[in-house]
């Protein structure tokens, strides 16, 4: 196997710049392996966040050749190694150092979403009954590993810096998991419309394309939530019907 060059962001803030590192490639390596090898060989101070190396912790998110991806799930044999492979930190979050960004904004946003509020138990022993079909729909959303690649690629955050007004795809997935839950009784539609800025999403489906868990974010979470917001605030016929048949 040949050597390959990796063009990696190094430094902090304004002084951050690309630096080329060359390392030897062996079969089966992923980008995270190469970064670790570079750390061991020539850049011991190179900062990189990682944990499981199995695509389940969501820590090693970065932009590889310009695309938001998990470093641990990007095999080198899928990349063109005849030219330098660029590895950058995510652009939608404040840069800390090298490949590490501060994603804590996401956790602050998540705290503002109303928590799960189940209906009264169905059985005297305090348990509930749900049908598999109803559970399946929200189960997809629970695959999220919070890698925040969807947040990174979303142009509302990345290019328009609407962090103060827009929650982002990850939090719409989280809200959809609660809002569509068969037991949940809470109403989050006003929050979605106003504080979370669901209307900023213009359905580019970039979030769906980068999701390493293949969650159909736009079609199964965001658009159904948009439709529920339309029901609640914009559709006069639905509002009229609701007078006669109130929903939850």
């Amino acid at each position: 196997m040949p050597d390959a060059t990796f063009r990696i962001t190094t430094g902090r803030g304004e002084s951050a710049a690309f630096k080329d590192y060359t390392t030897h490639i062996t079969e089966g390596m992923v980008v995270l392996d190469a970064v670790h090898q570079i750390q061991a060989e020539s850049a011991p101070t190179l900062a990189c966040r990682w944990n499981c190396k199995a695509g389940k912790c969501g820590s090693c998110s970065a932009e590889i050749n310009g695309k938001p991806r998990l470093m641990c799930m990007t095999r080198l044999d899928t990349l063109d190694l005849s030219v330098p492979v660029t590895v950058e930190p995510m652009r939608a979050f404040p840069h800390i150092k090298d490949l590490v960004t501060d994603v804590s904004w996401n956790f602050e946003v998540k705290k503002r979403i109303r928590k799960f509020k189940p209906r009264a138990p169905d059985a005297p022993d305090g348990t509930w009954r749900m049908r598999q079909e109803d559970v399946d729909r929200v189960q997809e959303f629970r695959k999220c590993i919070e890698c925040f690649l969807c947040q990174d690629v979303c142009h509302v955050l990345r290019d328009h810096h609407k962090h103060a007004e827009f929650a982002g795809p990850r939090h719409f997935v989280y809200t959809a998991a609660l809002e569509m839950h068969p037991l949940d009784t809470e109403n989050r539609l006003e929050h979605l419309k106003d504080s979370a800025g669901l209307g900023y999403c213009n359905i580019t489906k970039c979030c769906t394309k980068v999701c390493p868990e293949h969650i159909t974010i736009t079609d199964n979470a965001i658009i159904p939530l948009k439709e529920r917001v339309v029901d609640e605030f914009y559709d006069p016929l639905t509002r009229l019907f609701r007078i006669f048949r109130p929903s939850k």
């Binding site: 050749n65 904004w105 509302v156 962090h163 209307g199 900023y200 213009n202 580019t204 339309v230």
Partner: protein, 285 residues
Amino acid sequence: MSGADLHLPQMRRLGETKRKDAWWIQPTLVFLGFSAFIVYSTWAALQGAHFYFGGAAGANYLSPFYSPLLFEVPGRAVTGHSWFGAAPDWLLRMWPSFIPFSPALLILWAPGGFRFTCYYYRGAYYKAFWADPISCAVGEPGFRGEKYRGERRFPLIIQNIHRYFLYLAVGFIGLLAWDAVQAFRFTGADGSRHLGVGVGTLVLCINPVLLGAYTFGCHSLRHLIGGRKDCISDCSAARAGAYRGVTCLNRRHMLFAWLSLFWVGFTDFYVRMCSTGYITDLRLI
């Protein structure tokens, strides 16, 4: 929501990216595809002629751009398809003098509005025509910056009207299906009606099938038919089945959006070519 004080990387300029794939191909193809359709359909709708093919062989083909045909076009041969006969004088007087009278312009706003507000098309033309963004992880025009409003405020908040266009579009599927049935009715030399099949019949039959696959995979329909409920299992068996069917079509919404767009244009083109005599409709039965 906090976030105003975040120190974020500088915004990239239009087209600036580290992506190494040919990211520009998809928006370019979408731009060319939509532009070609808009130019052709506008031209065809403004013609007010050659939208019906009766022909010597007795065919009965009506272009989908003119269906339903509300009024006959003054000075043209009567098609027999119009709902209200000749165009009334008040309508002709109101008609702008700089464009010829065309019944297509009375109806195309409905299917056009359905496509314009469609969730798939929105995402596609925001990218291809407005570069918002031009492609995923590619820089946008700098002028928009933090002034971006998305679909949250006027004018794009109007996109929420999509479900009303859906109601109209479902009606159009029925009308176009009826036109396809009519395309099996041929008129003999003695004026008698009989069953027949021409290439145009097949073209007109495929049209409502593809339009139906597109329309019945609509995100709004998916919501209205069952998605709005947290417990779909509470719905009747028929409704739950319908939800699953719409979901199945919804997974291929983009595919059917393009196939139906192409085929509705091709159907008009075929009828127009037959009507003008450039091609001869091959009679199969």
